[in-house]
């Protein structure tokens, strides 16, 4: 068995609008492949519409991929038998903690009901819920268990959501922008909690974010996606300190950083139109290094296995050489 908790192979998702006339098709995710090791945090970074949330939803089986495979410990998650087990293996923390808890149920019910369904509680459900609440720092737990979501703050809600997820004892947690709806000071608490839980329970996280700072703070590896494609993947520090793909550079350059020392002025190609090229590199319209060959031939991911890959012709020589 491989040491990968999760293997994603050639994942594609095409959305078509209109039930009767399937005219408009939109490829949200194109041939995305990656692996997630046990205990690892992989951040998927991209702008809105880059396909990062779609990927997360396919991995948690909330939507079906158009093609491609998602393997958990070597088993396809769309496998009939596996489907029922999925909640106990892969869980999700949602972007909006205000919406993720049903306003009509108490915190205790929200956390306890999945335990009941999956028969996860060893003692009584209530005892286990109290234990989980304590684990995520909602103490004293007795004060929280009978509260309704509107009675607690945003950060506490996200903690409750994490408690619910933990109750199912998954090994992989997909976190879709878990802090973007929260105030920054609260957000950092949630990130710290997630990091602590990873250590404690050897969890693997797939972190979806648009913020390079939080990606660096949380993740071991970073995968940058653009227009449904992986453009760069690699060790978090390497990607942030020495980005290769022009898009990653652009993202880094655009992220506010008042302490920026070196003024690496990369040429910004101002681009208002959001249409994508039909062939060739998806980033060609905005790339300052674009060449003729970028415009016609689609570009593969160059590089060595999982460690560092870049979808850019600039690195063909360098990385292909390395590979050899």
């Amino acid at each position: 068995m491989s040491n990968y908790k999760l293997q994603v192979k050639e994942l594609n998702k095409i959305f078509s609008s209109g039930v009767m006339f399937k005219k408009d098709q939109f490829q949200a995710v194109k041939n995305i492949s990656f692996n997630l090791r046990k205990g690892e945090i992989l951040a998927i970074v991209g702008e809105s519409g880059s396909g990062k949330s779609t990927t997360a939803r396919m991995i948690t089986n909330l939507i079906k991929p158009t093609s491609g495979e998602i393997l958990y410990d070597g088993t396809n998650i769309n496998n009939r038998k596996f489907k029922r087990l999925l909640p106990e293996k892969i869980q999700m923390v949602f972007q909006d903690p205000f919406a993720a808890l049903n306003p009509n149920h108490t915190i205790g019910y929200a956390i306890g009901r999945p335990l009941e369904l999956k028969k996860k509680a060893k003692g009584t459900v209530r005892e286990r819920v109290l234990e989980l609440l304590t684990q995520v720092g909602l103490t004293p737990a007795e004060d929280f268990i009978d509260k309704y979501p509107y009675q607690i703050s945003g950060g506490q809600k996200q903690r409750a959501v994490i408690a619910r997820v933990l109750g199912l004892e998954p090994e992989v947690i997909v976190a879709d922008e878990p802090t973007s709806m929260l105030d920054v000071s609260i957000g950092i608490d949630i990130m710290n909690l997630m990091l602590d839980l990873r250590e404690e329970k050897k969890l693997s996280y797939l972190l979806i974010t648009h913020n390079l700072g939080s990606a660096r703070y949380m993740a071991d590896r970073i995968m940058v996606v653009f227009a449904g494609e992986v453009v760069e993947i690699g060790n978090a520090e390497e990607v942030i300190n020495a980005p290769k793909h022009p898009y990653t550079k652009l993202l880094l350059h655009s992220s506010p950083d008042p302490w920026r020392t070196e003024v690496e002025e990369i040429e910004i190609v101002e681009f208002a139109d959001t249409t994508l090229p039909k062939q060739g590199c998806k980033f060609q319209y905005r790339c300052p290094f674009v060449t003729e060959s970028c415009k016609t031939v689609s570009i593969p991911l160059y590089g060595t296995s999982n460690d560092r890959q870049v979808r850019c012709n600039l690195y063909r020589e360098e990385l292909v050489h390395e590979q050899a």
Binding site: P87, M92, D96, A99, A100, L101, N102, P103, L168
Partner: protein, 287 residues
């Protein structure tokens, strides 16, 4: 018992403001009249031996009609039929509307789209026209048939409203969270989503009940009601058929219309209060 108490407490929470209390009081009065009708009414049902066209007096508070019936008594007996039709037809409508709306809204895809296309289709055709054609081809029209026709044909608009509400709930994270927790579709639809749209359901319930009262009156007026039953609609219909206007018999025309208006007004107040209180999305509902 504890559960019942919490349900009651929940319902109490739903009762909205002064408007709602006023509305509930109105409805309550009519219910009392309907239940104790035979004790309250001064004369027996359909007793026709009085002098015709008597204007209101102490013996006949609301006068008599062209057949020599005491109008007050008829009105009180009519309350029973009208309320019965309103409540039962309204409940049938609500059940179908909620069911179709939630399923179509939650399931989406082919089932949801298909259901809604059908709803849209029938929504275009005026409901009253459909009721007319159904009622006129039925072998006989009893109160049961009236209830069924109204109940089975009025849920379309409600289904749409519930559906759009369900769809916006579905976008909410808690539905996805429920799916991630391994809950089944039924549990998600009726235990997760439904409690959150109770205000909208109640407001719609109130609206369809109002429409049922009006539809019953309309059908009776068109001669499609139960000819043997006494309802506010049939009283009005008889008044018109016997040219009450030309006899200046306002006591025959005003009471049934006002009774309908008061009852519906009560329902509408309650519905409006609920929506106000929960600041629920009204969609295009005229409430």
């Amino acid at each position: 018992m504890k559960k019942l108490k919490s349900i009651l407490a929940y319902l109490w929470e739903l009762i909205p403001g002064t408007k709602g209390v006023l509305g509930l009081a109105i409805i309550f009065c009519f219910i009392v009249i309907a239940i104790f009708g035979s004790y309250i009414a001064p004369y027996e049902k359909n007793y026709i031996a009085f002098e015709a066209w008597l204007s209101p007096s102490f013996t006949h508070w609301l006068g008599t009609d062209s057949y020599g019936q005491d109008i007050l008594s008829q009105m009180i007996y009519g309350t029973q039929t009208s309320l019965l039709v309103a409540i039962v037809a309204g409940s049938i409508t609500t059940c179908i509307g909620v069911l179709v709306g939630i399923v179509a809204g939650y399931k989406g895809g082919w089932i949801g789209e298909g259901l809604m296309r059908i709803v849209d289709l029938f929504l275009i055709i005026p409901t009253l026209a459909l009721m007319i054609i159904l009622a006129s081809f039925l072998p006989s029209m009893g109160v049961t048939n009236t209830i069924l026709i109204i109940g089975l044909l009025s849920w379309l608009y409600m289904a749409r409203s519930i559906r759009s509400q369900t769809m916006s709930e579905r976008e909410s994270g808690y539905v996805e969270a429920a799916r991630m927790a391994g809950m089944g579709d039924l549990e998600i639809m009726f235990r997760e989503i439904m409690p959150n749209i109770i205000p909208v359901i109640l407001a719609n319930l109130v609206l369809v009940t109002t429409q049922a009262v009006l539809a019953e009156a309309g059908l009776s007026f068109l001669g499609l009601g139960d000819p043997s039953a006494v309802s506010w609609g049939t009283i009005l219909s008889l008044a018109h058929a016997n040219n009450a206007v030309l006899f200046n018999a306002w006591w025959w025309i005003l009471p049934p219309g006002l009774a309908i208006a008061c009852l519906c007004f009560g329902f509408i107040l309650v519905g409006n209060g609920i929506l106000d209180r929960f600041q629920a999305n009204r969609g295009n509902a005229a409430l």
